[in-house]
Amino acid sequence: MKRTRRQYYTAAVERLFYWGIKRHFYAFLLSDLSAIAAKAAKQKENRTKFQLHERVFVKITKMQLTLEFGGGLELLCDSVKIHSVDVDLPAEEKKLTMKHLLAWVRSNLIKERPEMFMKGDTVRPGVLVLVNDCDWELSGQLDTTLENKDVVVFISTLHGG
């Protein structure tokens, strides 16, 4: 079929028109993507800044610790053996020691018979204290300084057999 001249022109104009639209569309898309990317980058930057800020903030007032009770001591805290806790640093202090932690455990986790956990300001005889799988005797007992994410185990010695 042979096209008329007019039909030919129309087709050409149409094609040009579509190219134009496509170009504009792509341009629009590209510009938008880059805008989105720029926006996202900025958000990320902000988030990182915020996170950094938050982390510094946590280090100053709170300590995240895992506390474990065994050998029957778990019975003193609702039979729960593993506790993930955030311990507030004592006021005016820059570090958390075992001495503070014991007082904190006594008032926050021990639900009954505190005398089965503590005697005076330390643990009762027959309780082993392990900081990161190491006897606290090796790290200074009550003066042991705790770090964020430390694991502290309290275990009562067993006698059965």
Binding site: G72, G126, L128, D133, I155, T157, L158, H159, G160
Partner: protein, 461 residues
């Protein structure tokens, strides 16, 4: 007529069964005596032979002292490059004492006999009971009522008749401990109480013996090697004994049979390592086993303490004062497993289980409070009793009051309190008196006395 005949028949069968059981027991006793005798004769022969062969070719024909039978029996251990002939011959020359033939001692003894420890001793004064068998796997039903040491020795001999097995059918006390322990190279503490643990540790320090100490209760176990190669002793770790209330027993708190089994096996392993001079024993470290969550944690413990009263720089412990030392007083708990018998109440605040039976038979209006923990109550309980665990007694007073009102309108109704053995029931009655229930009385001896004096078919646990 016919039912009478049935009764006669069953009585006759029972008599016959009893007499057969008696003669079986006699024969078994004679067999084990003869076995022991044979053992003695054989070991003497063995020694003589060894002595003569030592003279003839300076050791054995293979240069390592293992006979062809031994090579075949222990071949799977000899094949281990890290254990080998040297490890096995060290083991055969060593002697190990296992104190306690119970839940920990059972697997430990079986493995030590099987692996070829030269001389294996065992100490226990107890007899086998039905409620031991779920965990004390060295004993069988045939030995119920007989000495644990006899039973364990027979089991070990049936596994390995070529090693020397020595029975100490007595409790370990300060008077005999030094004499018994001094005959062995390594000690395994498989006892079940705090005073024994201190006594055994002190004895090992005095005699310089390594101590493989294990403990298990409920669903947890602990293991450590003490007094080994300059490492700490039990007292370095626990200079002050724990309060009595912190020393729970398997008979009160329960124990899953396989838990002491696991720890007992590990004790045998550590003893084998120490005896054969192979590997790195668990000294200066402690293994903590939590069966429920399937966790094993190995932690670093303190070294030998210079302040230690047993092994420190200025020890107060000597052989003389060891024999005088009162470990029961030191730990405030008894060496023998006799259950506590409290006496908190006066006689008029108590009734016997037989008297309570009369109350029930006469139909006197009363409320029976069972103060055991609820998981005990679920095992077995008296009919028409209400379960108020001692720990919740104060909170549950309204329930008791309403129960009293529902019987006889609360007029002259008695309040009786029962527990397992008659200790907690006294504590509960004291508390009830304080809270205004002046008529409360406890049943002396608890459900155990009910089972013993009133109803023989009532289960005990």
């Amino acid at each position: 007529m016919e039912s009478n005949g049935g009764v006669d028949e069953s009585a006759r069968l029972l008599r016959e069964l009893q007499s057969l059981k008696d003669s079986k027991r006699d024969i078994e006793a004679r067999i084990s005596a003869l076995e022991a005798q044979l053992q003695q004769v054989q070991s003497n022969q063995h020694l003589n032979k060894k002595a003569s062969s030592d003279c003839s070719n300076g050791g054995s024909e293979f240069g390592h002292g293992l006979t062809p039978d031994m090579i075949y029996r222990y071949s799977r251990q000899l094949l281990l490059p890290s254990f080998g002939v040297q490890g096995q011959s060290n083991l055969l020359k060593s002697s190990i004492l296992v104190i306690g033939a119970g839940g920990l001692g059972s697997p430990a003894l079986l493995y030590l006999a099987a692996c070829g420890v030269g001389r294996l001793g065992m100490v226990d004064h107890d007899v086998v009971e039905l409620n031991n068998l779920h965990r004390q796997i060295i004993h069988g039903e045939a030995y119920i009522g007989r000495s644990k040491v006899e039973s364990a020795a027979a089991a070990c001999r049936s596994i390995n008749s070529t090693i020397e097995i020595i029975e100490h059918k007595e409790a370990l006390r300060t008077s005999n401990a030094l004499a018994i322990v001094s005959k062995y190279d390594i000690v395994i503490d498989a006892t079940d109480n705090a005073p024994s643990r201190y006594m055994i540790s002190d004895c090992c320090v005095l005699l310089g013996k390594p101590l493989v100490s294990g403990a298990a209760l409920g669903l947890e176990g602990q293991l450590a090697v003490y007094n080994y190669n300059g490492g700490p002793c039990y007292r370095c770790l626990f200079p002050t004994p724990p309060p009595t209330t912190a020393c729970q027993r398997c008979s009160d708190s329960g124990v899953l049979g396989v838990v002491p089994g696991v720890i007992g096996c590990l004790q045998a392993l550590e003893a084998i390592k120490v005896a054969s001079l192979v590997g790195e024993p668990l000294s200066g470290r402690m293994l903590l086993f939590d069966a429920l969550s399937a966790r094993i944690r190995i932690v670093k413990i303190r070294g030998r303490s210079s302040q230690c009263e047993a092994c420190g720089e200025n020890p107060t412990l000597t052989q003389e004062n060891f024999q005088q030392f009162d470990y029961e007083k030191f730990t405030q708990s008894p060496l023998s497993p006799a259950p506590l018998k409290l006496k908190l109440l006066t006689e008029d605040c108590r009734i016997s289980s037989k008297e309570y039976e009369d109350v029930v038979k006469k139909g006197d209006a009363h409320v029976l409070i069972d103060v055991r923990p609820s998981h005990h109550y679920k095992i077995v309980s008296l009919p028409n009793s209400m379960n108020v665990p001692l720990a919740n007694l104060e909170d549950k007073l309204p329930e008791i009051s309403s129960a009293l009102k529902s019987v006889n309108g609360g007029q002259d109704a008695g309040v009786y309190v029962v527990c397992r053995r008659g200790n907690d029931s006294q504590r509960a009655v004291q508390l009830l008196h304080k809270l205004g229930f002046m008529s409360a009385k406890d049943i002396v001896g608890g459900l155990e006395s009910w089972a013993h004096d009133v109803d023989n078919r009532f289960p005990t646990y």
